[in-house]
């Protein structure tokens, strides 16, 4: 690994892979760093090694990753898998750990393609073993062929819930019930966005096919379920919920939940890139222009880490950001960049017609985002409840960071990844302001685990 690259790409999902392939063969020094052992990101996880039977269940959308990964493998971009990036600053210095050796490297252009994380959604009992995110269930299958053995309850809102249910159905998993917490009022709010969504109707058709197959197979879906609770002494035993005005309990040792996905912004945050609240996507994302430029010169973003638009858009955005980096490096002229980006810009725009509809349809209700159940744990690491956060606000600690200092929430091992959004929502709710006026935790390096030994292994030359 060099100490300096002209272009460094962080993340091996669709955006990162497409950017790397674009930068290949241009005579520049370019490397891609990724935490996983193989290319694909979360969406195409294990794409190179997946057995045929498993790939079939995952479908053609998943198999698209094969082409992307193969093109990347053929590129001349240096590839460093199992590499952790623990720091990025506005001087374009990157702290990394590769094979237990830490290093600081620099680059002229850095593309952060960090992808998305599942939106953490606190509810009573969500820390019990047996409660997992739906994406986790899907990763278990993609990466290891691991599926539920004694049935599963699926709960939440969003396309992934439906997709996972359909995949489990193909695999013969017993789906006890699907608890769809999407408020019925969302249907009305989403209706005006439907005509534009019809321009990307293949997404809608797919959703309808999944729904039809599930209902034909007799899988029960409780639309408009609410008051989701996971119960058990130390392990999940049952799930409680309200449906059509009545309380229900269902026994299960596994509950998979999904509440949409949000950008993984810890690196761009700690670098100091400007971020903004996206009201429609209900999350923060780094500010960027149509080429992926952030507020810091030479730091670009693409893919879901820049704002949620899905895997196909990520691929287009990755190529566009790759072209932008080549332009900045003086490889392409402005008109060459513009010309080569045209198709991707066109297809990306077409692909995104579905987003406003999806965002309105699957918007998470305010009552869930800022829970009023004071007993619910918000910070899983430091075990801080919603009540403690509200109390901190009431005693004059008016922002996420103030609440963090006084309660320790967000100071645990995950560095606030699981509670930042919820804390912002609760702080805003308790203080009577809009969440867009609220603040996100300040991110600081190291943003990934780093032992003292690894820190000490920084050599003199690369510590300067």
């Amino acid at each position: 690994m060099n100490d300096h690259y002209q272009l460094l790409i962080i993340g091996g999902g669709p955006a990162g892979l497409a950017a790397a392939t674009t930068a290949s063969g241009q005579g520049i020094s370019c490397a891609l760093l990724d935490e996983q052992p193989a290319p694909g990101g979360q969406i195409y996880r294990s794409i190179e090694s997946v057995p045929d039977t498993r790939a079939q269940t995952l479908g053609t959308e998943y198999l698209r990753g094969k082409t992307l990964a193969a093109a990347f493998r053929e590129s001349d971009v240096e590839y460093y898998p199992e590499t952790r990036v623990w720091s990025l600053n506005n001087g374009r210095e990157i702290g990394i750990t590769h094979k237990s050796q830490s290093k600081i490297i620099t680059a002229d252009q850095i593309l952060v393609a960090s992808g998305a994380i599942e939106r953490p959604m606190p509810f009573s009992g969500w820390t019990l073993p047996g409660v997992m995110q739906a994406g986790a269930g899907q990763i278990l299958f993609k990466a290891a062929g691991v599926i539920p053995s004694d049935g599963v309850v699926l709960a939440g809102s969003g396309p992934l819930l439906l997709l996972l249910a359909w995949q489990y159905l193909q695999l013969g998993v017993d789906i006890k019930v699907i608890l769809d917490v999407t408020p019925l009022s969302n249907h009305l709010f989403a209706l005006p966005k439907l005509p534009r969504a019809l321009l990307a109707h293949h997404y809608l058709t797919k959703g309808l096919v999944y729904q039809r197959d599930l209902s034909r197979a007799g899988v029960k879906t409780k639309i408009g379920a609410s008051n989701l609770q996971a119960a058990g002494d130390d392990l999940l035993k049952s799930v409680n919920y309200r449906h059509l005005g009545r309380e229900h309990t269902i026994e299960t040792d596994l509950l998979l939940t999904h509440f949409g996905v949000i950008p993984h912004i810890w690196l761009t945050q700690s670098a100091g890139c400007k971020h903004q609240w996206d009201n429609s996507q209900q999350c923060w994302r780094p500010r960027h222009d149509e080429w992926g430029n952030t507020s810091i010169e030479g730091i670009l973003v693409a893919g879901d880490g820049a704002g949620i638009n899905g895997a196909r858009s990520a691929e287009h955005a990755g190529r566009i950001a790759g072209l932008q980096a080549l332009f900045e490096l003086g490889i392409l002229t402005e008109s060459e960049r513009n010309k080569q980006a045209k198709n991707d810009q066109k297809w990306m725009k077409a692909d995104r017609h579905i987003r406003p509809f999806l965002e309105a349809y699957f918007a998470i209700p305010q009552s869930m985002l800022a829970t009023t159940d004071n007993e619910t744990i918000i910070c899983r690491c430091e075990e801080i409840t919603a009540g403690q956060i509200r109390e901190a606000v009431e005693t004059g600690h008016g922002g996420s960071n103030d609440v963090k200092y006084i309660t320790r929430c967000g100071m645990g091992a995950c560095q606030g990844r699981q509670c930042a959004n919820s804390v912002a929502h609760i702080v805003a709710d308790a203080g009577g302001e809009a969440v867009s006026e609220s603040s996100h935790y300040r991110g600081r390096p190291p943003v990934a685990p780093l032992t003292l030994k690894q820190l000490a292994s920084l050599t003199k030359e690369n510590r300067q």
Partner: protein
Amino acid sequence: MFKQLPNDQLEMVDILLNGEKIQVPLGTNVAAMTLSQGQRYTRTTSLSGSKRAPFCMMGVCYECLMVIDGIANQRSCVTYVKQGMQIETQQGVGSLPEGAHHE
């Protein structure tokens, strides 16, 4: 809770899970392997001692911390099974095995 579908394409390796010798497919992530062995939790918290299990499976929630080859606080979902690996449920901050020292 979970089971692993058979996969003939993978080489099997011997590992120790909480002291028990078992055969598992090479390269499976440790969290997936642990869950498919019927273990329902992977750590207890250092504050209340409550049990926790893998939650996100993508390296961001830090709930799947385990003691792997004597080193505590390893994210089992981004660690991959190798021949002879020793994996243990983590109790609290993770006490060290006898004679070991913090890496």
